[in-house]
């Protein structure tokens, strides 16, 4: 499904156990990111992960234009390895963070690939303790693609479209 199709998709009504499982995944992913539990967060990631924070809407080819983050699985592994060195100064100490995840909608189900495409809104509050200890607010929308690996849900895509994505951004060295 293209970004445009997803943007206009009617949410799918899915059986209640599946809906609860998807919600639980999103909340866990948010909590592990909030608490900078990098290794546990990485366990939620599938081998074909694409982690993308575009500049503006996710309607362009990230191979041709710059993005804030455009990680394939190896690049994401480097990102987490760097955070776990203990001397990633931009996140030393890690920012206290909490994000509210809401408006969760299952937008597409691909029975052949076994994937669920899920949209949600979020507001992340971050205290930038590494420098001026100012509170920074990061609102946006996430599109997850989830897939079952060995019975458990994993994410193979996380696209984060920030409300402020066309404006300059402060340090974003945490997991957004």
């Amino acid at each position: 499904m293209s970004a445009t199709e997803l943007a206009t998709a009617r949410p799918l009504l899915v059986p209640e156990p599946l809906r609860r499982e998807i919600e639980a995944f999103l909340y866990l992913e948010a909590r592990l990111a909030d608490e900078s539990r990098y290794a546990e967060w990485e366990k939620l990631v599938a081998d074909d992960m694409h982690y993308w924070v575009p500049k503006g809407a996710a309607d362009y080819d990230p191979a041709e234009r710059l993005s804030y983050i455009n990680d394939n699985r190896p690049r994401l592994a480097t990102r987490i390895r760097q955070l776990m060195t203990g001397v990633r100064h931009a996140q030393t100490p890690p920012s206290p963070m909490r994000r509210i995840v809401s408006n969760i909608e299952v937008l597409a189900i691909d029975d052949v690939a076994g994937t669920y495409t899920v949209g949600s809104n979020f507001v992340l509050y971050e205290l930038a303790v590494q420098s001026g200890a100012t509170l920074r607010v990061w609102p946006g929308r996430v599109t997850h693609r989830l897939r079952r690996v060995g019975g458990e849900l994993r994410m193979s895509q996380k696209i984060v479209e920030l409300v402020t994505a066309t404006a300059p951004q402060w340090n974003m060295a945490f997991l957004i």
Binding site: R65, Y68, Q169, A173
Partner: protein, 426 residues
């Protein structure tokens, strides 16, 4: 009272109040960013007639636009009637600029074309164009401007050293032309703008500030070029004069294409194309040397494959905006590789510059509350030491000054020129 710059900027130290004093910032916006040459953009960003991008020159919003004849104009982004901002998007294309307040319409060259309800307007339209940069100049597609029009020639501003930095970058393209087509990423930093000409050309900090990147990316070429101990490292810090500086990494590369992180087998067609343009010997030199790491005073960073500009916002806030070079007539795969390399290095979520941003912000915090010393006395505190390597740097026959890559030769070069500008344009 005017600021005594000569008392605050000595050859081996500068005072911290220069980063926090709002009067100093106001002086800089006038003397450096309005009356001096600044980098605005690149002509490849506006390839077609009517293409425009918005930028800032100092604190003033401008439109860089290409007219029907192909000429590039840098116009104030401000209606000549009542001052409404004309363009609020980052880029666009059109035949004219129309103000949405009262409908005045301006040509691509800034001339006033039409006034609505013209019976009540008794001025001559020719007297009412958009304000514009007093001088616009290009070097290899890099567009520079100044608002005042009395900044001397661009060739004098760049000097041989500045021109050579840009030439060495552009010569890496098989056509001699680079394209800035990948968009700009803005990185907001709560620091004074001067932290960046200093930090972007500081070769002393890498193994401390960027320790996490070096550990996470053991194959990064910075290991060879700026790390490895004071005696082992043969990279150089260069003062090109006029405030332009370089960390010359070329002596440290241990193989050709190290800066690209691949071997000739992966980019054979590119190497052949360079050889066809430059001949074998010069192409081999270029492929070994790679793009420069330099800073053009006051706001242009040539960071190997990256281009960044410094946009000051106020005395304690600025944007480090960057894009990546794209080469002409090469495989898409090579340009995509450059783009991925850039995403790893620069920007708010990259592996390198966020750590520099933290240092800049903490320095800004460190300078809070400082007041300029009455007599330039070092006893009053708040001084920043820039003495490293003074005894061992060498003046070369071409006028450049060269030190060890870890020496503060580049920082002294910036401040030396800064003081000259701030005093001579007082």
């Amino acid at each position: 009272m005017s600021t005594p710059y000569a008392a605050l900027i000595l050859e081996d130290r500068v005072h911290g109040s220069l980063y926090t004093d709002t009067q100093v910032f106001a002086d800089e916006m006038d003397r450096i960013f309005r009356r001096g040459w600044v980098f605005v953009g690149h002509d490849s960003e506006i390839p077609k007639s009517g293409d425009w991008v918005t930028r800032q020159v100092g604190r003033e919003s401008v439109i860089m636009v290409r007219d029907r004849g192909g000429a590039i104009h840098v116009l104030a982004n401000r209606c000549a009637h009542r001052g409404n901002r004309l363009c609020w998007r980052e880029r666009g294309n059109g035949n004219s600029f129309q103000c949405i307040y009262h409908g005045w319409t301006f040509g691509l060259d800034g001339s006033l074309r039409a006034v609505s309800h013209k019976a009540g307007f008794d001025r001559d339209r020719a007297e009412m164009p958009l304000d514009r940069a007093g001088q616009v100049g290009l070097h290899r597609g890099f567009v520079f401007a100044n608002m005042s029009g009395d900044a001397g020639t661009l060739a004098d501003h760049l000097g041989a050293g500045g021109r050579d930095l840009i030439d060495r970058l552009c010569d890496l393209s098989p056509t001699g032309n680079i394209r800035l087509s990948a968009g700009w990423i803005g990185h907001r930093v709560e620091s004074n703008w001067k932290m960046w000409p200093e930090s972007d050309s500081d070769g002393y900090h890498l193994d401390f500030v960027h320790a996490s990147m070096l550990r996470a990316q053991p194959d990064n070429y910075y290991h060879d070029t700026v790390i490895g101990g004071e005696s082992a490292n043969v990279s150089r810090a260069v003062d090109h004069g006029r405030g332009h500086t370089e960390l010359d990494l070329r002596p440290s590369y241990s193989r050709e294409l190290a800066w690209l992180g691949v071997g000739r087998d992966r980019v054979g067609a590119y190497c052949d194309a360079l050889e066809a343009r430059h001949g074998k010997a010069r192409a081999e030199r270029l492929l070994w040397d790679g793009p420069p790491h330099g800073f053009i005073f006051p706001n242009l960073f040539l960071g190997e494959v990256n281009i960044a500009r410094i946009d000051p916002l106020d005395v304690g806030s600025m944007v480090h905006a960057h894009t990546v070079i794209q080469l002409e007539d090469v495989d898409d795969a090579l340009n995509r590789r450059l783009l991925r390399q850039s995403e790893a290095a620069l920007g708010p979520a990259s592996f390198i510059v966020p750590d520099d941003a933290i240092i800049a912000e903490r320095m800004q915090l460190g300078f809070q509350g400082l007041r300029p010393p009455a007599s330039g006395s070092s006893a009053s505190g708040g001084w920043i030491d820039l003495s490293r390597g003074r005894a061992r740097e060498q003046r070369q026959p071409d006028g450049t000054r060269v030190g060890h890559v870890s020496d503060e030769t580049t920082n002294r070069a910036f401040w030396h020129h800064y003081r000259h500008v701030m005093e001579s344009r007082a």
